[in-house]
């Protein structure tokens, strides 16, 4: 090959083909997928919690994309139905994930709605799930001699609690739990057929 112009234009055509297949066409097809009727936009606490989820890299161990029944037993594990593009209409950035070191979280709000469970589990996962390898997040909490007015106190099993102190959740932890509680794609994908009276 003697011509750099030919080389580079060939190379850029190849990249353009790949870009049309994986960026442009999906853009045309699913970028503006409308939200499914049952999907609610995130509230402000939930969005702040989502930022905490992103800041601490939860996505590197937890996916948000249950797969179809024919593919994997995700539904049988209680992770929910297979998702579609319209389930992610409010997700900016997307958090589909590529690892399941921990379980899928697309419907964690349905599976585990309790705020106290989530707070305690973030403080010390092994106090709630024996054998878990999830990191503990003590920096999202504060251990105090006694709780002040308005503090969210975390009820911990005796072994996990620091002796003589109460553990209160920092706002980041509370927001993160709001976000986790909001993860709910249990509504149907197809709207019920309209019935004419």
């Amino acid at each position: 090959m003697n011509s750099e112009i030919r080389l580079l234009s060939g190379a850029m055509v190849m990249l353009a083909l790949a870009t049309s297949a994986l960026v442009v066409l999906p853009y045309l097809e699913v970028h503006d997928a409308p939200p499914l009727p049952g999907l609610k936009p995130y509230g402000s606490a939930e969005l702040r919690g989502r930022a905490v989820y992103i800041a601490n890299g939860c996505v590197y161990c937890h996916s948000q994309q249950p797969r179809a029944k024919g593919f994997a037993p995700d539904f049988a594990r209680g992770w929910g139905r297979a998702t579609v593009a319209g389930d992610y209409a409010y997700d900016q950035p997307q958090l589909l994930g590529t690892m399941r070191t921990g379980p899928d979280l697309m419907n964690i709000g349905v599976r585990q709605p309790s705020e106290q469970w989530h707070l305690g589990h973030l403080y010390q996962p092994r106090a709630f799930v024996p054998g878990s390898i999830m990191p503990s997040y003590p920096f999202l909490f504060e251990a105090k001699a006694q709780a002040d007015k308005g503090d969210v106190v975390v009820n911990l099993p005796a072994l996990a609690a620091p002796a003589g102190r109460v553990v209160v959740a920092r706002p980041e932890a509370v927001d993160l739990v709001r976000y986790l509680q909001s993860l709910d794609r249990s509504y149907p994908v197809l709207a019920a057929p309209a019935t004419t009276p």
Partner: protein, 573 residues
């Protein structure tokens, strides 16, 4: 190509009107695929020169007239260099009378090309080694945290999700590009027989790039990131990367335009195109606000896989194509196979990213396309492998004498291994098990470490003596480095491959609780930390040896200090 575009247009029309059914999609995909494949073959055929000429002159441009048969291995000690030459002479009994007549002018020109890049390449390599150490420390910490989850949990920046990201970004934007671009800056002037023009732009570019990386890692550690794997560094800092990268690319473009050779060697194709591909990938991926939801996931893996396939891989393949024949003193066997390897990679690799989303909520046709192209990657990989095998055939004794070749030879083999593994991992049946597991992490390290990093290590061992005019002071440290990292990656890869597979099987079995898939990986995660520890030790040996060479410590103490040597030369000139 035009046919492929027409097909895509046709497909667009169909999707636009929502009339797609399974039959149509398959037909469209199949016809688009066949047409573009034929177009690719025609294109490659139009580029070839001398189809039936087995000893293509195009492959010989890396040698001066009369130089073929003469080995070049600056990383080896004198005795080993003689041993290498002897071994190659023995295998080349038929071709007597080499070397002595090598064109002196051209060798002098090569020395000038080396000198024109020396301070710049040295700077790139210093950054590369520094980032290698940062990335190693972060990677090992993340690995240990997976089986010691209550270790180092008080600081937010040390939490697994952040330290793992620091590891990835220090490798992806620190070690790999600094080493790869440094090697490209050294090799391209040699291949174009032209001193590097405008080196100061690349200096400024490299400073900006490293400043951007420090800012980027700082912001990830502080919890500010864009939330996409491989693209975590905030886009505002990304602008600095784009400017720095462009400045690094400028001297290579100047040199290309002012080159004194007619023919562009294979390595120039790979390196030149990588430099043009990366900015497109980065800018499209980082466009603020352009991507959303599922479409963003598709873009994410278009970028994630192409930064591997269209940036690190071509830089490393270019190094193999240059250093392997250079060390053994024989040209690459087949020019046509290298054409097939290059254009095959350019065409197929770009479209494989969708296999990261198999089973996900993305358009089905996109996943299918990516799986098909993943399998097609076997073609360029086979072309590369056969080519290297033919070149090395009967000359394996060279591995004994040449440290460069040992690293690059293993690296080349790992390219074949990781690519073939990747192709099969993309198949739905295998992907159903391995997706979402540590198996994928093992595969990623086989590619970016076993292949890319090994090749870069080998190339750096070759280049450093050429740019510093010094020998490596302790040849044994090179062996120690090799065996530590080879044992390390072997243990790393084996344990994650087995552990990841068991994890995937446990997850697929609905009768087993999810926690089984966690428990089953624990011994393998611990073994991985041991493997990672060996790799880190190897890097410490490498870094210490690098510093010893740079500071003139060890047996060659009489040589002048580096900077004085360069400035002295400038004054003399």
């Amino acid at each position: 190509m035009r046919a492929a575009l027409r097909c895509i247009k046709h497909a667009c029309y169909l999707w636009g009107f929502g009339e797609t059914n399974a039959m149509n999609t398959v037909a469209i995909l199949l016809s688009a695929f066949v047409l573009s494949f034929v177009a690719l073959l025609v294109f490659i055929a139009s580029q070839r020169s001398g189809l039936f000429d087995r000893r293509s002159r195009a492959a010989e441009v890396i040698f001066a007239p009369g130089e073929i048969g003469r080995t070049e291995e600056p990383a080896a000690a004198r005795a080993a260099q003689a041993g290498l030459q002897g071994a190659m002479d023995a295998s080349e009994a038929a071709h007597a009378g080499h070397g002595a007549a090598a064109d002196a002018d051209e060798l002098a020109e090569r020395t000038r090309a080396d000198a024109s890049t020396a301070p710049l390449v040295f700077f790139f390599f210093c950054c590369a080694v520094a980032w290698l150490l940062v990335a190693s420390a972060a990677g090992l910490t993340a690995s240990i945290k997976l089986h010691e989850p209550d270790w180092l949990v008080q600081q937010a920046w040390l939490t697994f999700g952040r330290i793992r990201t620091l590891h990835l970004n220090a490798v992806a934007y620190g070690w790999a590009p600094m080493a790869g671009l440094g090697i490209a800056l050294f090799v391209i002037p040699r291949l174009l027989k032209t001193p590097l023009l405008g080196a100061r732009y690349a200096f400024v570019g490299a400073v900006l790039w490293n400043a951007a990386l420090i800012a980027g890692l700082g912001s990830v550690a502080a919890g500010i990131n864009d939330g996409l794997e491989w693209l975590e560094i905030p886009w505002q800092i990304g602008i600095l990367f784009a400017v720095g990268g462009a400045l690094i690319g400028l001297p290579l473009v100047f040199t290309l335009v002012n080159r004194r050779v007619e023919h562009l060697y294979v390595s120039v194709w790979y390196m030149g195109c990588a430099l043009f591909w990366l900015p497109v990938l980065f800018v499209v991926a980082k466009l603020p606000g352009a991507h959303q939801g599922v479409q963003q996931a598709a873009m994410n893996w278009w970028f994630g896989h192409n930064v591997l396939g269209l940036f690190y891989t071509p830089l490393a393949l270019a190094s193999v194509y240059y250093f392997l024949p250079k060390v053994i003193g024989r040209p690459i066997e087949s020019y046509n196979l290298s054409l097939l390897g290059f254009w095959g990679l350019a065409f197929f690799y770009g479209q494989v990213g969708g296999h990261h989303l198999i089973g996900g909520p993305v358009p089905e046709w996109m996943v299918t396309l990516s799986i098909v192209q993943s399998m097609m990657m076997i073609i360029p990989v086979a072309a590369f492998t056969v080519n290297q095998y033919q070149t090395l055939r009967g000359r394996l004794a060279a591995l004994r004498w040449s440290p460069t070749l040992r690293f690059i030879g293993v690296g080349g083999l790992m390219y074949t291994a990781s690519s073939v593994q990747g192709s099969f991992e993309a198949l739905r049946s295998m992907n159903a098990v391995t997706h979402f597991t540590h198996y994928t992490v093992g595969h990623a390290h086989l590619g970016l470490y076993g292949f890319v990093s090994f090749v870069f290590f080998g190339a750096m061992y070759f280049v450093m003596p050429r740019i510093t005019a010094r020998e490596w002071p302790y040849p044994r440290l090179i062996s120690a480095h090799f065996w530590l990292v080879a044992a390390g990656i072997a243990l790393y890869f084996t344990s994650l491959t087995i552990g990841g597979w068991l994890q995937g099987e446990a997850m697929l079995d609905a009768s087993r609780p999810f926690m089984d898939s966690v428990a089953v990986t624990l011994p393998y995660l611990k073994a991985r930390s041991v493997g990672g520890g060996l790799m880190v030790l190897g890097h410490l040996v490498f870094a210490a040896h690098f510093i010893a060479l740079a500071l003139g410590m060890g047996p060659q103490r009489d040589q002048p200090a580096l900077l004085r040597q360069w400035f002295g030369k400038k004054v003399a000139a």
